[in-house]
Structure formats: C-alpha cells, structure tokens
C-alpha cells in the first residue's frame, strides 16, 4: 500500500514534476536564507552598520554631468537621481541612434551595390567583434586628442569641437516663446487628425496623398511661421572664446559623446543583423505575389515586407535595447557620471553601504529593463500574425 503511494508520486507525470519543483524552490529558499543570515551576522560582528539612513546624508562630492542642479552639499539620494537621469539620457539617446543606424546598415547590407554592401559588412564585422568597452575608450581618447579650446574646430559657425567637448549655443527663451512651443504641439496634434482624414479621403476617393510629406511640412513650418509672427522670441547665447575657454553657450562633454558613439555604433551592428535577417525571413513568394499584382517595389517594401519583417525583428531588437541600457554602466571607465559611476561608485566608497547601494542600483536597472520589455512586448503583439501562418 505504502510502496504503491510512493510509486505513484515518483512515477506519475504530474506529481513528479510538482515534487521536483517544490524541492528546487525549497532548496533555493534555504540557500537565500542562509546567505542573508550569514551576511547580517558578519556585518554585525565587524561593526558595520546597515540601513538606508545614509540616503539623507550630504554626498560631499560633485557631479560634472547633470540634468538637475547638484552640489556637494546635496544628499546621496539626490546623487542617485542625478545618476539615474544620466543613465536614462544615455540609454534613450543611444537606443534612438542605434536604431536609425542599425536599420540603415541592415538595409544597405542587402543592397545590390557592391561597394555599399561591403562597407556595411566590414563595419558590422569590425564593431560587433571588438569589446564595446575598448570602443568606448577609443572614441573617448580620440575626443580627448581633439585640438585645445583655443584651436577648437568650428562646425556650422557656432559649434566648436575641442578636447573639452562640443561647445554649442544655448537657447534663451523670451516672452512669447511658449506660444511657439504650443504651436509646435498643436501642429503635431493637427497632423495626427489630418493623417486620419486623408486616409479616410483615400478610402473614399482612392486618390493617394503624400501624407508623410504634407505632415512633415506642417510640423516644420507652423512653428517657424509663428516664431516670426511673435517677433522671434528665441535667442541663442553663443559660445565665445575668452582666454583659454569658451564663455556662454553650453557644452556637451566628451564623456557623453564618447559613450553615445561607443554604445550606439556597437549596438547598431547587432541591430543591423537583426533587421537584415528580418527582411530575409519574408519569403520570396510574398514579393512575387505582390509583384504579380502590380505593386511597385517601394509599396512591396512598405505594405508587405516591412510589416512582416517587424515580427521577426522586434524580439531581438528588445534584447539589444536592454544590452545597450545595461552597457551604459561602462560609463565608469571614462568618467561618464551615470548611476554606477556616482551613486554606485563614489557614494558606495564614502558610506561603505555596498549591499544597500548595489541592491538599489540593481533594482533600478531591473526596473528600467522590465519597463522596456513590457512596452516592446506590447508592440510585438501588435505585429504578430493570427492563425498558423
């Protein structure tokens, strides 16, 4: 009787899998419990205090790259937010640039032009096979070896590239600029509705409108028009060379440019491969069927190939966004003041709360990554096929 019960548990498909899973979870829980216990005991024995009270203490260090004001008197918590914003800044700018570059290179790799195709090929093979850290350091070093501010390279008259970064005009908003900004927002909203109504019109009359061109023109020219009507309520403070440095304007630090170039050029190589495989994955029959119906090649790409390629492109693209975001922690190597560099580095050294700080930083990355995943998964769902095709 008893043997048959044991036999049943061990050899029954369902109860066996339940048993194994319970065992694994149990062992894992015991393992975590022991580690936490041991750590707490060790910390106490060495007289190391723990807790999150340090967050309200003054940080005592400066952060050179910041989106919100910060002085050495501010708290560690504020240092955390300065770092977080810098991480988000590099992640967003990086993903944006990497996507554009990646799609471009991916399409060029399928081009019939031998030269373009092979330039893209060499680019991909070089960048994706060299560690990203080395690339970041390379670009940063090149930026540091640019001419000194006195001999800065002028770009478009008012931008100056030097070993201290890119000096550029900073905007000064005068009265009435908010109206220009609002006209820009309204233009975007308007084009959204216009797109809908033109699509409706196309459905009714069959006439095709260059919707993208019309809308781009509206979005670009409306604010410019309003800007002149309002009497040009925007000034730029130009960077001017005074002595050994530029006065006025703003500067984009070489650390940021180095990170941006390193991360996006590296990740774009992977994205281009993803895009290329996505386009190839659309079967030849799909193109042939569209051609046989008389669709021109740009319409074949837009209506048939790209929508189907996205289905294959999106999941690995999500991985690349996550990689780029996490790789932004390499900023510590060249002194880009991201989350790991400031809060995860200097704050940690000063307070000694390694476990608390690392947990906070890890949870932050986890949150950012999961947020990206959620949005990309929603988008991914919208491009999948229905039924088994």
């Amino acid at each position: 009787m008893q043997t048959s019960l044991i036999r049943k548990i061990i050899f029954d498909e369902k109860s066996r899998s339940l048993l194994v899973q319970t065992l694994v979870i149990g062992l894992f829980a015991v393992f975590i419990y022991l580690i936490v216990q041991q750590t707490a005991y060790n910390l106490e024995k060495r007289g190391i205090s723990s807790g999150f009270d340090f967050l309200n203490m003054s940080a005592g260090y400066d952060i050179s790259i910041r989106l919100i004001p910060f002085t050495s008197e501010d708290t560690h918590l504020r240092a955390y937010f300065v770092g977080l914003l810098n991480t988000l800044l590099i992640a967003i700018c990086g993903c944006f640039l990497a996507t554009i570059l990646g799609f471009l290179v991916g399409i060029i790799r399928l081009s019939t032009n031998w030269l373009f195709r092979n330039i893209a090929y060499v680019y991909v093979e070089f960048t994706r096979n060299v560690p990203v850290l080395l690339q970041i350091i390379l670009y940063y070093s090149i930026l540091l070896h640019l001419p000194k501010t006195k001999q800065a390279i002028p770009i478009f008259e008012n931008f100056f590239l030097s070993n201290r970064g890119l000096f550029s005009p900073s905007p000064i908003f005068k009265d009435g600029f908010s109206i220009v900004a609002w006209s820009f927002v309204l233009a975007i909203v308007f084009t959204f509705f216009l797109k809908k109504s033109l699509k409706k019109k196309q459905e009714v009359s069959g006439k095709q409108y260059p919707i993208f061109l019309i809308n781009s023109a509206i979005i670009i020219f409306t604010p410019i028009f309003v800007y002149y009507i309002m009497g040009r309520p925007l000034d730029f403070e130009l960077p001017v060379l005074k002595g050994f440095n530029f006065k006025g304007g703003m500067v984009i630090k070489p650390e940021f440019i180095g990170m941006l170039l390193g991360l996006s050029i590296y990740t774009a190589a992977f994205i281009s491969e993803t895009v290329r495989s996505g386009i190839i994955s659309v079967s030849k029959g799909q193109r042939e069927a569209s051609q046989a119906l008389g669709l021109k090649s740009n319409l074949v790409m837009r209506l048939i190939v790209i929508p189907q390629a996205l289905r294959v492109i999106i999941p690995p693209l999500t991985s690349q966004y996550l990689n780029l975001t996490k790789n932004s922690s390499l900023g510590i190597a060249i002194g880009y003041a991201d989350l790991v560099h400031g809060f995860g580095g200097i704050s940690l050294n000063q307070t000694g709360r390694a476990i608390e700080i690392m947990l906070m930083v890890m949870l932050t990355y986890l949150t950012i990554s999961l947020t990206i995943s959620v949005f990309m998964n929603i988008y991914n769902k919208s491009v999948q096929f229905k039924g088994n095709a």
């Binding site: 009714v204 095709q208 029959g285 119906l293 008389g294 209506l303 039924g387 095709a389």
Partner: protein
C-alpha cells in the same frame, strides 16, 4: 471566334548560370484559350509561365503580351502585370492581412480605387470562389483549399484578362483539390484566357483547348487534348502519360 493573339513567345531562351532552362520556346496564345502545360519536374514549365509576367527575366528571344514587349523597361512590366494575374503553388497570401484586405490591397494601391469600392469588389470575388463568410479571417486560419481560392479571388480582383496558374493544386490535400479546380473550371467557362501548369489530367481533359508537354526546357509536344491523350506523337510524352495516368 476571334483569333486575337494575346501572348506571343518567339525563340525564348533562358539560362540559370550554365543551366539552360528554356530552349527556343515558341508559343502563341489566343484570346480565351485554355492551355494546360505538363511535364516532369525541372522541365521548365513553371519558369516559362513566370517569364510571361517577368517574375523571371528571359535572356534571349521576345515575349509580347497584348502587344507590349517584355524588356527591362519597368513601365512595360507594370502594364503587363496589371493585365496578367498569377496563382502560385504555395498560395502566397499575405499572412499579416485579413482575407478581405488581401484581396482589396492591389485594387486600392495599384488601381487607386476607393476603399469601400475595393471591398465591394473583394466581396464579389469571394462570393465567386464561394467563401464570403471567411472575409474577416486571416490566411493562417483557413484550410489550404480556402487559401488557394482566396489567392484566385485576389488575382481576379485586379480584373486581369490572362490568368497564369503555377501548379495551383500541388500543395493541397486530395479533398481540397476539387474545390479549387471547380473554381478554375467556372473561370474557364466564363472565357478567361488561362495558362495552367498542372498534373490534374482530368481537369486538362475538361477545359484545355491545347495541351503542351515540356521536357528539358523544350516544348516536346503541343496538341489538342483528344490527340494528346489518345495518340501522343513522341515517345517521351507516351512514357510520361503512362506514368501519371496509371499510377
């Protein structure tokens, strides 16, 4: 009976690298004719009809469709493709679009038809292939036979006057072959000019005006169905027919 020549192939040759796929193909198709093409695999029959709407380019000889010669001229290719419909072995429906969107896509984007009108046209052709109730479904939700009928409707929606069929029933279960052939027979009865690559000899006997047998890139035999099936001239044709009729 008018004898307007709608397709003229004159000494058409084509190579894939060293492989000579089409050898001196001469073919004349008259308006309303139904031509069934058969032959062993690799004989060039699919390649020949794919040359007629330029899915493949021929390298030598001339192909004239409705008086327009097929060359590298993109305008000419467009004109011909608008008048020539094609149905594929693998259906090639667009999996990301619903059935009705599959059919109305080309009328909307190529003929610039208003969407409402295009959908009416699409529904009319779905009625014709007898599956109007599937309009909102996606290709992946249909059986093979239904998919192929949608593919036929999609081609017809462009109102072509010539239809090319490239082994339309080869990828289908035996039970579904009939529903597709019935649609094709109906189309034949309505006077459509048709070139059909198929091994369905029953269908061939029912609708064909001309039978063509191809082997190794050449047209070996061209004859009326009664002559073709009852007393084929070449030994190669006899062998082929004995193999596919007595299996």
């Amino acid at each position: 009976m008018s004898t307007e020549q709608v397709i003229q192939l004159d000494k058409v040759n084509k190579w894939y690298d060293d492989f000579h796929v089409l050898k001196d193909i001469d073919l004349i198709v008259e308006k309303g004719q139904k031509i069934v093409i058969c032959g062993p695999s690799g004989s060039g029959k699919s390649t020949m009809i794919r040359c007629i709407n330029r899915l493949e380019a021929h390298q030598n000889g001339t192909i004239i469709v409705h008086g327009t010669e097929l060359t590298n001229d993109l305008k000419n290719i467009d004109i011909i493709r608008k008048n020539v419909g094609m149905v594929f072995q693998q259906f090639n429906l667009f999996p990301h679009l619903s059935v009705i969107d599959n059919i109305s896509l080309a009328p909307i984007w190529v003929k610039k038809m208003p969407k409402g009108e295009a959908e009416e046209v699409a529904m009319a052709y779905l009625e014709k292939v007898k599956i109007p109730e599937q309009a909102q479904k996606f290709p992946g939700q249909l059986s093979g036979g239904q998919q192929q009928r949608v593919a036929i409707a999609r081609s017809l929606a462009m109102n072509p006057d010539i239809m090319l069929f490239d082994e339309p029933t080869s990828a289908l279960d035996p039970e579904m072959i009939k529903e597709v052939l019935d649609v094709m027979i109906q189309l034949a009865e309505e006077g459509m000019t048709m070139l059909v690559v198929t091994h369905e000899m029953g269908f061939a006997k029912t609708v064909a005006d001309q039978m063509i047998f191809m082997d190794e890139g050449r047209i070996v035999e061209q004859a009326k169905p009664e002559d073709f099936f009852n007393n084929p001239k070449s030994d190669r044709t006899k062998l082929f027919l004995s193999q596919i009729l007595n299996h």
